[in-house]
């Protein structure tokens, strides 16, 4: 009854890029700069290297279990009872992430663009396409990713080119001025937010039609996605300076506001909002989809599609009560998220990897 869905490795790469860039692009510069000052972009490079290592771990797990998706791997490695528990924990992780991402978008629109619209209205409007996309399945929305990706690249290119006249090189000097230790400490900010979350994408390993290409496409996706983040961080530091970047909640948006070509081309900040909206849509869809797959697997429900609408109502409420104000969010994202993400993005995958080396995966399944 349930049709097997397949995407090709190029579409998977695009989804990885969207997942990495989404929601981080607009908030990551201030998190990086607050820790490692003008060397924030070096921290981002370091985070990318760690990300590549982690992706190696994830793809090795995927390869050892011949491209199965994450819930099946966990069940095979941990046994039935413990496996189900861990799958439900992963459900909680990705569901929480989905709620936070949704709230992030709502907060951004509510504070910057549509100030008088109630948060609930924004969330409902944004959830409708999400529900639709998840109901149609990964095949459909990865095709949407193929269509929208050129626009994202174009808009980002435009943003960077237009802001070149504002660059002040003194803003990133002295390079390495804060010492190696600060740089490594600062990279934790980026490792926590997009890098540890990447483990959610292993849920979709089984949908890629060429399992041997997963490793390559995952690596390329991380490289491109993190490069975009590094460039954005570099540009915000170069143009806004350390102090202003650290103060703002949405520094990339402020960066776009600064663009002014001959007093004529101004107020192009909606470019950033568009890029953010598109990439965030994919991140939210992927998180929500993954959480539904986990939930269905954890409770042995055959078809996850039936749960989409009830779950979306719960997601809606979760995103509204998730945090009372932005200060709570910044505190949570910078202080608590790291270890929460580390448990699910590093510790459990490493345990799975070690067990998979001890216990030979059976070929028959």
């Amino acid at each position: 009854m349930i049709k097997e869905e397949k995407i090709n490795s190029r579409q998977f790469t695009l989804l990885v890029i969207m997942f990495t860039v989404g929601s981080s692009i607009i908030i990551i510069p201030s998190a990086l700069v607050n820790e490692s000052r003008q060397d924030g972009w070096i921290s981002a490079i370091l985070a990318m290297i760690i990300g590549l290592l982690l992706v190696w771990v994830y793809t090795t797990i995927g390869k050892r279990y011949s491209g199965k998706s994450l819930p099946l791997i966990i069940e095979q490695v941990m046994g039935k009872k413990l496996g189900k528990l861990i799958i439900l924990l992963y459900f909680f992780f990705s569901f929480t992430l989905a709620a936070l991402v949704l709230r992030n978008f709502g907060d951004f629109l509510n504070t910057k663009i549509m100030v008088e619209t109630p948060l609930e209205a924004i969330h409902i409007m944004f959830l409708i396409p999400i529900v639709y996309a998840v109901k149609l399945g990964i095949e459909t929305y990865s095709r949407v990713a193929e269509i929208t990706f050129p626009f994202i690249l174009l808009l980002l290119f435009l943003l960077m080119v237009l802001s070149v006249p504002q660059i002040e090189l003194t803003n990133i000097q002295p390079i390495f001025g804060e010492g190696i230790k600060t740089i490594t400490g600062g990279s934790l900010a980026m490792i926590g937010v997009p890098i540890f979350e990447l483990f959610i994408l292993t849920t979709f390993f089984s949908t890629v039609n060429e399992p041997k290409n997963i490793k390559r496409s995952f690596f390329i996706g991380i490289l491109i996605g993190c490069s975009i983040l590094i460039l954005i961080t570099l540009f915000t530091i170069l143009i806004l300076g350390v102090h202003l970047t650290g103060l703002k909640m949405f520094p990339t948006y402020v960066l776009a506001k600064k663009i002014s070509i001959a007093d004529f081309l101004q107020r192009v900040e909606i470019i950033v909002a568009a890029v953010w909206g598109i990439t965030l849509f994919f991140k939210l869809v992927l998180c929500f989809h993954a959480s539904l797959i986990m939930f269905a697997k954890g409770f042995s429900i055959k078809n996850y599609r039936i749960l989409v609408i009830p779950m979306s109502i719960i997601l809606f409420i979760y995103s509204l009560i998730a945090y009372p104000n932005s200060a709570y969010f910044i505190e949570f994202a910078t202080k608590t998220w790291l270890s929460f993400g580390m448990t699910f993005g590093l510790v459990i995958p490493l345990i799975i990897l070690i067990i998979s080396f001890i216990k030979k995966p059976s070929k028959t399944n």
Binding site: F92, T96, E120, I124, K181, T184, G185, L188, F299, S300, I301, K302, N303, R305, I306, L307, I309, P310, M311, I313, I314, F316, I317, Y318, L320, I321, A322, Y323, Y328, F332, K335, T336, W337, L338, S339, F340, M342, T343
Partner: protein, 76 residues
């Protein structure tokens, strides 16, 4: 009030969309569908009545904050 009417609309829409799937004799599937829907409606009603709902993030903060602090101290 508006929220309640939207939710009722969504619920009716949802049941009418999923009806072909719900008619199957998958009891666990139908059960989970309706229990999740009931949970969603309850939560929305409570939210609409301005009841303070417990925030799962507080629990996460309580559990994971000490570990994070430890990691950050390593790099200080």
């Amino acid at each position: 009030m508006i929220l309640a009417s939207i939710i009722i609309f969504i619920v009716i829409l949802s049941i009418s969309i999923e009806w072909p799937l719900l008619k199957n004799k998958e009891i666990s599937q139908t059960f989970s569908y309706f229990s999740l829907l009931a949970l969603g409606i309850t939560l929305t009603t409570l939210y609409g009545l301005d009841v303070k709902l417990p925030n799962p993030l507080d629990a996460i903060t309580y559990l994971f904050r000490p570990i994070s602090t430890g990691i950050f101290n390593l790099f200080k």
